[in-house]
Amino acid sequence: MKTNRAKVSSALLAAALMGSTLVGCTGGGKDGGTSSSGNDGGGSGKEVTLKILHNWNGSSAGDVDLTPITKAIQEKTGVNVKLDYTKGSEVEKVNTIFATQDLPDIYTGPAWGGELDGIIKAAKEDQLVDLSGKLAQYPNLAKGIKKENVPPALYEKAIGAFGDKKYMLYQNQPATDKDALDWLYGFYVRKDIADKIGVDPQKVKTKDDLYAFLKKIKDAGLKENGMPVIPLGGFHNGWAVGIGSTMFYGSNYVDKGDGTLENVFFTKAYEDYTLYYRKLLSEGLLDPEAFTQTDPIANEKIKQGRIAVLAAHYPAILDASKDYVKAHPGSDYIPVGPLERAGAEPNRPADLAIQGNNVTVITKSCKNVDAALKLLDFLASDEGFKLVHYGVEGVHYDMANGKPVAKKEIFDKFAADTTGKQKKNEGFGIGFESLTGPDRTNSLGGDIWMDQDRMKAMENARKILRPNGIKVISAYNAGDVITKAPNWETLKPSMDKMNDVWKEAIFAKSDEAALNVLNALRGQLNKMNYPEAIKYVNDNLKGKEVVKVQMPN
């Protein structure tokens, strides 16, 4: 009896072990609760649940599953939205979802770089739904991808690249000139530190000035929390300490002098730019951890007041420094410069590529394409845009003189919360903004949630950094054209190495070693027929207006 019991127990134990092994092997990627059901777009009252992948690293929801805004969207469209977010590289996420076929119903993500390349590949390989036959019923979506509403190179490369077929929707391009959003990329210094070392940041104009400025900060031997203040720092993986490139060259493809274009990587200007950063790094003026750190570590340094000059866009700097500034009044980050720009006259407006930032697609796994289109069309409408950006009328805002005005108690609640959680819990900033069609923030009433201090800081920075205003670039970008060269597939892996190689070069032991690192990749690029690709670019851009000066945005 005892033996039998032992045998039965052993058998059960073994079965349980095997069972757990097999359970572990089942595809956990599919979330039964988020698959689509029904087929009528919610019109008949059937609930449809759609999973949307918001492919932006760092984006996230709040603590509430069903926010007031999500609920309002559900009531309007009959679609219950489940948002999924990317933690880590956006490019990796695109490649992974298609390679593993763990697809969301709707995808929205960056309208450039490797992310867009992945979406184009997916379109070519029948992974996306062709929307061309249905767009007539969804006017807001159709309008957003009309040729005149999309930058020409992006239209040729992606949105309109498939003849009569249309796979991609385009989000957030400025609807009018006044909706153009300038992120105000630049170098920003802590005001108290600039005062301490006695330098007016607006007197810093040239690369030599910037070097001397950083050196003076280092030599001052400042300390915060017992730790040394780092003269120049950035955010995750070096973002965006390299923006000093504009002092050395105008854009990534420069005129060789004979009217033809060359990738700047092959030029002397690029070498100078590399050696300048190598000098900053070797003299302890640039944070060596900047290229390997994560955002939490970067934010920690900023919150401890340990970075004197930050290079990034202003909203990110204002967000990261909020806590420190609150505790240490007068320590706000203010603009440095404006710095000299290579190839640009001093009175030239800032050349910015202001365009949409999201491409949205419906994947072949979407079981209810009509419901997805109904949802996206609603979000792209003025009503949807206002709901996502301003909230529920009467709850979050009221209309006064035809313009939305934030309710005071809600505004104060958001302003007092430095974590941003309160906003997310209401449904703001959780991803719907990436699905609302053309950007109409200013045309429809402005950003009603921006507090006065932030608005003043942005306005002040704009005055300093954009003395001649801005000019929105509409010319062709050689970087887009080269991706259509016949040998692009074999050339691309080496072209993608440029940024890594630049970082490697600035850490080199000597200037000579740094140049050797650049030259090794130049050799590889030539071996991979770069000359053939750049010839294709020059042939195709003959007679066309080409981007030769561009600032980060």
Binding site: T21, E125, D496, E504
Partner: protein, 305 residues
């Protein structure tokens, strides 16, 4: 008709075989089923075609890898780092097991054993974050200590520094794995017949001689087998650790095949290329295991197969 003797034997020990079943299923699913995917290395992988529906590409991706200007640098770095890990990482657990065997205070022995196992269960992400905090030149405790004791004047950038890269890689690898890897040697030592020690003592052997003539020969076979297995990973330097610890400053000596495979496959979406490089690693590993196994069999009569 009588059943085959093997079937009879299995049936007789069915409960033991039942216990083996989860392991067999695991190996089948995660080691043998994926072999089907090897064909991707010889195809132009397409999302729509999948493993078997994508067009054949021959050796295109192998040519691409060997034509890549950093291919030999990647191979060299991988072998160098693996060889260092093999030489240090293989011997240190043996040393720890022997040292622990000599400890007579059981309480102390158990505390040391537990503390040495713990790092094994901590992920590399956590270990690297810890290292970043400890080793940072900006107020990190290690630099503070060294400066406090007057050993250095200026803080040292331990990470992102070619001078310290190998030390950091090896040190963290040994710290993380030494305890876990010593378990098997501890078990082997526990299995040595105590009469051998008594005989050695009667013959006048001290502690060192007992270790040399009894303990070490007692664990020789298990050490040889583990060494053969370890040579299989000579072309694989450990992607998690190097993905996290290697940066632009150390790229020239720290870029390895494992990370190259991950980057080209997942980040760049070149799945066929990544599969080709991965297959190259595996084939070399297989050749190494077979060779070392033969050599071991000739030299010591101990081998895996």
């Amino acid at each position: 008709m009588t059943a085959h003797p093997l079937v009879k034997r299995i049936w007789r020990h069915k409960l033991f075989y039942l216990f083996m079943l989860p392991g067999i299923v695991w190996f089948f699913l995660f080691s043998y089923v994926p072999l089907f995917g090897i064909q991707v290395a010889f195809r132009d992988f397409r999302f729509s075609g999948g493993f078997s529906g994508s067009p054949w590409a021959g050796l295109k991706y192998f040519h691409q890898f060997f034509g890549y200007y950093q291919a030999w640098e990647l191979i060299r770095n991988t072998i160098l780092i693996s060889a260092m890990k093999l030489s240090v990482g293989f011997t240190m657990p043996i040393v720890l097991a022997i040292l622990l065997n000599e400890v007579r205070n059981l309480r102390f022995k158990k505390v040391v054993q537990t503390l040495s196992y713990l790092p094994y269960f901590v992920s590399w992400v956590v270990v690297v974050t810890l290292m970043q905090r400890l080793l940072t030149p900006y107020g990190g405790p290690v630099n503070d200590f060294l400066r406090g004791t007057g050993l250095i004047q200026e803080p040292i950038t331990f990470l992102n520094n070619t001078t310290w890269f190998y030390q950091v890689i090896l040190g963290s690898d040994v710290w993380k794995n030494i305890g876990w890897n010593s378990i098997i040697y501890m078990a082997a030592i526990a299995g040595i017949d105590q009469q051998l020690y008594e005989a050695a003592r009667i013959d006048g052997a001290g502690r060192f001689r007992q270790m040399w003539h009894v303990t070490l020969p007692g664990i020789r076979n298990i050490a040889v087998i583990l060494f053969i297995l370890a040579t299989g990973s000579l072309m694989s330097a450990g992607y998690e650790q190097l993905l996290l610890l290697n940066g632009p400053a150390t790229a020239a000596i720290g870029s390895v095949l494992d990370v190259h495979v991950i980057n080209s496959g997942i980040s760049e979406g070149r799945l066929s290329y990544a599969a080709a490089v991965g297959l190259f690693q595996s084939v070399i590993a297989l050749v190494l295991i077979v060779t070392v196994n033969r050599v071991a069999r000739k030299i010591s009569d101990v081998s895996l197969f």
